[in-house]
Structure formats: C-alpha cells, structure tokens
C-alpha cells in the first residue's frame, strides 16, 4: 500500500472535479456536487490531485498519520 494518500478539506472544496479528472486510479469522486472525497484504499499517493487542485484543499497525508 502507498505510503501517502490524499485527504480533502470538505469545507474549502469547490467541487470543480479537477482532482477527479487527474486521478489515474479513480480514487476521487465528487459527492453529490458538494465536495470531493478520496478513497484512501485506492489512492496511490501520487499527489497529482494536490498539484492540480485550484482551491488548495487537498493535502497528502502519510499512512502513519492515520493511526495516530
């Protein structure tokens, strides 16, 4: 499993869908037109979504941080 995964700040997300477009693994979906949600199981931690997000609401988290 990848060391990192993408996490979306729902409150800042504008649901433009750019992250969903760039994600090569289909790990991100726009939920009911409200915000993006990343599936950490599918996420390979490439960071493309973080780089492309115009609202700056995606952060790459380390897996270790999940258990903390």
């Amino acid at each position: 499993m990848a060391k990192r995964y993408a996490e979306v700040n729902k409150n800042r997300c504008v649901a433009c869908g750019e992250c969903m477009y760039v994600c090569l693994k289909g790990a991100i979906k726009i939920i009911h037109g409200r915000y993006a949600l990343s599936n950490s199981d599918k996420c390979i931690g490439c960071g493309l979504c973080e780089k492309s997000c115009p609202a700056g609401c995606i952060t790459m988290m380390h897996r270790e941080q999940v258990s903390e």
């Binding site: 869908g17 726009i30 409200r34």
Partner: protein, 198 residues
C-alpha cells in the same frame, strides 16, 4: 500508471473557442452561451450534481488545456481568500447584479427608452465597438442588445479566467465561477441529508 482514454466530452474546450469565434463574426450567436447557463442549473436542480463543472464545462477544459498543455500557467497556489466563501458568494452577487443590469438594459431597448448599443463591454467598464458583428435591423433590437450584453459577460469572465489561469493554477477560475458557486449551493441544499457512498 494508467493513461486515461479520452472521451467525446474531453473535447468540449473546442466549443468554447467556436463560441467566441462565432460571436466575433455574428453577435447573435452569443445566445448559444445560454447553454452554459441553463445546463449546469438543470444538472444541479434535477440531477443534484455538478456534473457540468466536473465533466462538460468547455471553459474549464479550455483553461486546463492552455494552462497545462501549452504551459501558459505558472501553476502557483492561489491566495486562500480566492476560494473563501465570502469571496465566492460576493463575486456571485456581483455577477448576478451585473447580469440583472444587462437584462435591464435589454428591457430598456425593448421598451424603446434607449437605442441599441453595438458595443461589447469588457470587464464591465471598457466599451469596445463591435458593430461589424451585427447588421442593423436583422432582428428586433432587444434581441441584439441581449446578444451584445451576454457576449460581454462571457468574454469578461473568460478574460478573468485566463488572467488567474496564468498567475495561478489552470482552473483557478473554477474556485469562484458564479455558476459553480450557484450549482454547488443548490447541491448542498438538495443533498443535505444524503448518505455518502464511495
């Protein structure tokens, strides 16, 4: 990594270019821009989603194309206030006010209170003569007035979008696009109690 297969809707950026070219030669084609206003609202109201922004928005695709493929974007992170709620809703109110003003101008022409102005107003300020794109008397004056007003709105928003595309990330316009803000708000109201499934 897998490479995505392009679908027909990945080429809708071409439509954005065609729209502005058509409007350059015949201003009445500006009415076609209503598609970009009505369809996202239908998606939001009927489908409760932002599929238009996510998949079918030709303008967003155009910014992505120019910014990424033609490397015209610095790809810097935009200041956080650009995606803040007060700025997004403030810009939406401003945009709707300007849209209302444009409708009022159309009404004045329809009522005969004022004459047709064959100009395109850029950034709500600068009047650019656009008379070549319209043959006087071809249609009712108010229809032509709406075309000039609507084309002005479309061109202005594209100029702002291109400007922020160059300074920041390609689709920075999408963070405060009035249609995006409006449709997201509709989705939030409609889907408030929906369960999330990935």
């Amino acid at each position: 990594m897998n490479k995505k297969v392009k679908k027909w809707y990945d080429y809708l950026w071409i439509w954005s270019i065609i729209y502005f070219v058509l409007g350059f030669f015949n201003i009445l084609c500006a009415w076609l821009g209503m598609i970009d206003f009505v369809v996202p609202l239908i998606f939001a109201i009927v489908g409760h989603n932002k599929n238009f922004c996510n998949t079918y928005c030709g303008r967003g695709q155009l910014f992505r194309k120019i910014g990424n493929d033609y490397k015209c974007s610095r790809k810097n992170q935009a200041p956080s206030w650009i995606a803040s709620k007060w700025f997004r809703y403030g810009f939406l109110i401003f945009f709707l006010t300007m849209f209302g003003n444009m409708i009022y101008q159309t009404y004045l022409v329809a009522a005969g209170a004022t004459g047709l102005k064959e100009v395109v107003k850029l950034l709500w300020t600068f009047k650019v003569p656009w008379g070549w794109a319209y043959t006087t008397g071809a249609v009712a004056d108010w229809i032509a007035q709406f075309s000039f007003g609507f084309y002005s709105l479309m061109l202005t928003s594209t100029i702002i979008g291109l400007f922020v595309m160059m300074l920041y990330k390609p689709r920075t316009w999408c963070t405060f696009c009035p249609m995006g803000t409006m449709t997201q708000s509709i989705c939030k109201i409609k889907n408030d109690n929906d369960q999330v499934k990935l």
